[in-house]
C-alpha cells in the first residue's frame, strides 16, 4: 500500500505494515507481560535516488525502524521488500547476499571504525566480503572510494585515530559505498559533528546521491538538516508515523499537531521571524512507550486535544498529493501559515560571502575535509 508513490518507477524499498515489539517482561511461562511497541504498523515506500527522512524525538522508534528495514532486527510483523525481493522471507544466507544493497552509516564515527584496521582495510573489507571487484583491483577501488568521499588516496594506510570526526564519517561512508549499495540508511549520521563539519558531510551526501543515484533513509532528530537533504519526510511519535509527505509540504503546511510542535520548537538562527512558538508547544514529557496513551498517542500533550482523541485510531489520512497524516481532526485545526515565520532575509552581500566559502582555498592549502 504505497499510497504516496507518484513516480512511474517501481519502488526500490517497500515497508508494509512493519511492526517491532520488544518484550520487556514475561510471565514464568514465557508469555509476554509488557511490550514496547517500538515500531507499530508502519508502511511506506522509497523510490530509487530518493531521500526519505525519518524524524522524531528520542524513543520514537526511528532507529529501530531503520534496523528493521535492513533486517538487522527481525520485525515482529509485516514485510520489507527490497528491489522486488522480500527480505523478511529470506533465509539468513540469502539475506547476506542482499546486504550489499542496503548499508548503514551510524551516528558515532569513533565507535564504528576498528581502531586496529587501516582506513584501506576498513574500506576494502566489504569489497572482499561481497566480492565486488577482483582481488587485483581492490586496492585501486579503495583509492577511488576514498577520493569519492573527499579523502586522499594515500590516506588508505593510516589509522582512524589520525583523523578528525568529519573525516572518520567520510571513511564510514566510503566503507558503506564499497559494496555498491542502492540504499544508505543514515542513522543520525551528522548529529555528532560540529555544524561546519556537518555541512561538509551533508554536501557530500547530496553530491554522492547525484553521482551514484543512491537512495537514502535519513534518520534524524534535526529537522533543519532534514529540510536540507530530504525529498520526503516521515514524522514518528511513539512508534507510529504521524505524518508523511513531501518535504516542502511538511514544512509549509504541516498537518499533524506533533509536526507543528516539532517545527515551531526549532530555534531559528536568524532574526525577526516573529513566530508564535507557544501556540504549538507540547505540554509535559514523552509518555512511557511501555504503556502508550490510548487512541491518538499524542493526546496527553497535544494543544488541540479533545475528549474524542482518547479513542480515535491513528490511521493515516491521505490527501490527493500523497501528504498523509494521522490526526483525526486535522481539517479542523487552525491555519499554520506563520509556523516557521518569515525571518529577515539574508543580506545579499552576506550571501555573496557565503558563496566565497565554496571557492577553493587560496594557494590550495588543505583538502576540504
Amino acid at each position: 500500500m504505497s499510497f504516496e508513490t507518484t513516480s512511474s518507477q517501481p519502488p526500490l524499498l517497500v515497508a508494509s505494515d512493519v511492526s517491532k515489539h520488544f518484550t520487556l517482561r514475561r510471565t514464568i511461562f514465557g508469555r509476554p507481560l509488557t511490550k514496547v511497541r517500538a515500531v507499530d504498523d508502519i508502511s511506506f515506500s522509497l523510490q530509487p535516488g530518493e531521500t526519505l527522512a525519518i524524524v522524531g524525538e528520542s524513543g520514537c522508534g526511528k532507529s529501530t525502524l531503520g534496523r528493521v528495514l535492513m533486517r538487522l532486527i527481525e520485525p515482529s510483523a509485516g514485510a520489507v521488500t527490497l528491489d522486488g525481493v522480500e527480505l523478511t522471507a529470506l533465509s539468513n544466507r540469502d539475506m547476506l547476499a542482499q546486504r550489499s544493497k542496503i548499508q548503514l552509516v551510524f551516528q558515532d564515527p569513533y565507535a564504528s571504525l576498528n581502531p586496529r584496521m587501516t582506513i584501506g582495510q576498513t574500506v576494502g573489507e566489504p569489497l572482499m566480503l561481497h566480492n565486488v571487484v577482483p582481488k587485483a583491483q581492490r586496492a585501486e577501488r579503495v583509492k577511488e572510494l576514498l577520493k569519492m568521499v573527499g579523502l586522499r588516496p594515500e590516506h588508505a594506510s593510516r589509522y582512524p585515530h589520525e583523523f578528525s570526526g568529519g573525516q572518520r564519517q567520510r571513511v564510514v561512508i566510503a566503507r558503506a559505498l564499497a559494496s555498491e549499495p542502492k540504499i544508505l540508511v543514515c542513522d543520525e549520521a551528522v548529529s555528532a559533528l560540529d555544524v561546519s563539519i556537518q555541512a561538509q558531510v551533508l554536501n557530500l551526501l547530496k553530491s554522492l546521491q547525484k553521482k551514484l543515484g543512491l537512495a537514502y533513509i535519513f534518520i534524524s532528530h534535526d529537522l533543519s538538516v532534514v529540510k536540507h537533504i530530504a525529498d520526503r519526510v516521515a514524522v514518528m511519535y511513539l512508534g507510529k508515523v504521524v505524518e508523511l509527505g513531501e518535504t516542502r509540504k511538511i514544512f509549509s503546511t504541516p498537518r499533524h499537531p506533533y509536526t507543528r510542535a516539532l517545527l515551531s520548537a526549532i530555534p531559528a538562527a536568524h532574526l525577526g521571524h516573529g513566530r508564535d512558538t507557544a501556540a504549538h508547544a507540547l505540554a509535559g514529557d514523552l509518555p512511557s512507550p511501555i504503556d502508550p496513551p490510548s487512541g491518538c498517542r499524542l493526546h496527553t500533550r497535544c494543544p488541540h486535544a479533545r475528549p474524542e482523541c482518547k479513542a480515535v485510531d491513528m490511521s493515516l489520512d491521505v490527501e490527493a498529493d500523497g501528504h498523509a497524516n494521522a490526526c483525526a481532526f486535522w481539517k479542523e485545526l487552525p491555519q499554520t501559515d506563520d509556523l516557521l515565520g518569515k525571518g529577515r532575509a539574508t543580506d545579499p552581500r552576506l550571501a555573496k560571502l557565503f558563496a566565497a566559502f565554496s571557492n577553493p582555498l587560496p594557494e590550495g592549502e588543505q583538502a576540504p575535509c
Binding site: E57, A199, L350
Partner: protein
C-alpha cells in the same frame, strides 16, 4: 548600525544592584588564559578571552568543540583541576578578582552568587539522593535555615521551574525523572540561592527539541523574574538567536567576534561567524548548498601565528599572518579580523 537597533550593549541597563559596577557589569573577564600542562606539550585552551556580562542580560558564548568555551566557564567558577590547569587573567565579580580570593571564599560564592548547570542532565545529579535533598543541600549550604525550611524552599524551587506535583517529585530519585525534568531540577538547584550569575553550559544539547524549547522558555522567564544574568554556552546559533541578548563567538581559544544578537545575526563581521551562519540550513529559505568551512581547527599545542582562522578563510590576505586585535566595526560590535567591515568584501566575490 542603523537606527532600528537596540541601545548599544555597553549602555548601563540597571542602576541598583549589589554586585555590579556602574556600567551594570556583573561579571567581567579580562584576558583570561588557561593552559593545560601535558607530559610533553602544553595546550592553550583559552587564550586571552575577555567579556562582560551585564545585569539581567544573557550572553551567548558560541563555538565548536575545542574552542575553549566550556573551559572558560569552568575557569570562572574555578572548577578546573588545580594540578594541571594554569589560569591567568582577571575575573571580576562584586568588586573582587575571583582568581585571587581564597578557596573558602570561592566556595561561598559557588552555588550562591554564581551557579552553573551542565550539558548532561542524566549524569549531573547524584543517583543516590532524592532530587529534593539535592536542591535542599544547596540551600542548607548557603543559608542559615533549618532542614525542614530548606526542604520547603526546595519544593518551592521545583515548583518555580514548573515541575508538576513538586512535593512528590522532591522525594524521587533522579532515575525516576526524564532528561527534561532533571535539567529543571538542575536549574532549581542553581537558582535556589538567587545567584547573580547563572552559567549554563550547553543546557539543552542533550534534550529533544520540544523539551529544549520548554527549557529555553523557562530560562528566559526566570531571567526576567529573578534578574539573574545568564551566560549561555552553546554550539547552536539558533539557541543564541532565540535566547540571548549579546554574543561572543569563540574560535581556537580566542574570542573572534563580540556584539549584540541583532548585530551578529544581521551581519557577522568575522569570517568564521559568516561560515557558521552559512553552514546552518534555514527553515524559511531555500539554500542549495550549505557553507562548508574547509580544513580543520588548529592544533592547540602549537597554535599558528597570526590569525588562527586564516588557514580556513576564503578572505585571507598577507596581513593575516599578523595577529589581529579585536577591532570595533560598529559601536559595541568587535571582530578579530583585519578585513572588517566585511560588507566591503562582498563586491570581490
Amino acid at each position: 548600525m542603523d537606527a532600528s537597533n537596540p541601545p548599544p550593549a555597553q549602555e548601563p541597563l540597571a542602576r541598583d544592584d549589589r554586585a555590579s559596577g556602574s556600567d551594570g557589569a556583573v561579571l567581567t573577564v579580562n584576558d583570561l588564559r588557561v593552559c593545560f600542562a601535558g607530559d610533553r606539550t602544553t595546550t592553550t585552551a583559552v587564550d586571552g578571552v575577555s567579556f562582560t556580562l551585564r545585569k539581567g542580560r544573557s550572553l551567548g558564548v558560541v563555538g565548536e568543540s575545542g574552542s575553549g568555551k566550556s573551559v572558560s566557564s569552568l575557569a570562572v567558577l574555578r572548577l578546573l583541576p588545580t594540578d594541571s590547569a594554569q589560569i591567568s587573567g582577571e575575573i571580576l565579580f562584586a568588586g573582587q578578582d575571583l582568581l585571587s580570593i581564597g578557596e573558602k571564599q570561592m566556595r561561598n560564592l559557588r552555588g550562591n552568587q554564581i551557579s552553573m548547570i551542565f550539558q548532561e542532565p542524566m549524569t549531573s545529579l547524584n543517583p543516590s539522593y532524592t532530587v529534593g535533598d539535592q536542591v535542599a543541600e544547596t540551600i542548607l549550604r548557603h543559608r542559615s535555615v533549618s532542614k525542614a525550611e530548606a526542604w520547603t524552599q526546595a519544593v518551592e524551587m521545583l515548583r518555580l521551574v514548573r515541575i508538576p506535583s513538586p512535593e512528590t517529585r522532591a522525594r524521587q530519585y533522579p532515575h525516576n525523572l526524564s532528561g527534561g525534568m532533571r535539567q529543571r531540577v538542575m536549574i532549581a538547584m542553581a537558582l535556589a540561592c538567587e545567584p547573580q550569575v547563572l552559567i549554563a553550559d550547553e543546557p539543552t544539547t542533550a534534550l529533544d527539541v520540544t523539551i529544549q524549547a520548554q527549557i529555553l522558555d523557562l530560562l528566559e522567564n526566570l531571567k526576567s523574574t529573578t534578574g539573574t544574568a545568564i551566560v549561555l554556552i552553546t554550539h547552536d546559533l539558533g539557541v543564541v538567536a532565540e535566547a540571548c541578548d549579546d554574543v561572543i563567538v569563540m574560535y581556537a581559544g580566542q574570542v573572534v567576534e563580540s556584539g549584540s544578537v541583532e548585530q551578529i545575526f544581521s551581519f557577522p563581521q568575522h569570517p568564521y561567524t559568516v561560515g557558521l551562519l552559512g553552514s546552518l540550513p534555514r527553515l524559511d529559505e531555500e539554500r542549495d548548498e550549505l557553507v562548508a568551512i574547509g580544513g580543520t581547527v588548529p592544533d592547540m599545542t602549537q597554535p599558528p601565528a597570526g590569525c588562527r582562522f586564516a588557514a580556513r578563510c576564503p578572505f585571507r590576505i598577507e596581513k593575516c599572518a599578523e595577529t589581529p586585535p579585536m577591532l570595533e566595526v560598529n559601536p559595541g560590535h568587535t571582530s578579530r579580523c583585519w578585513r572588517t567591515p566585511l560588507e566591503e568584501l562582498a563586491d570581490e566575490f
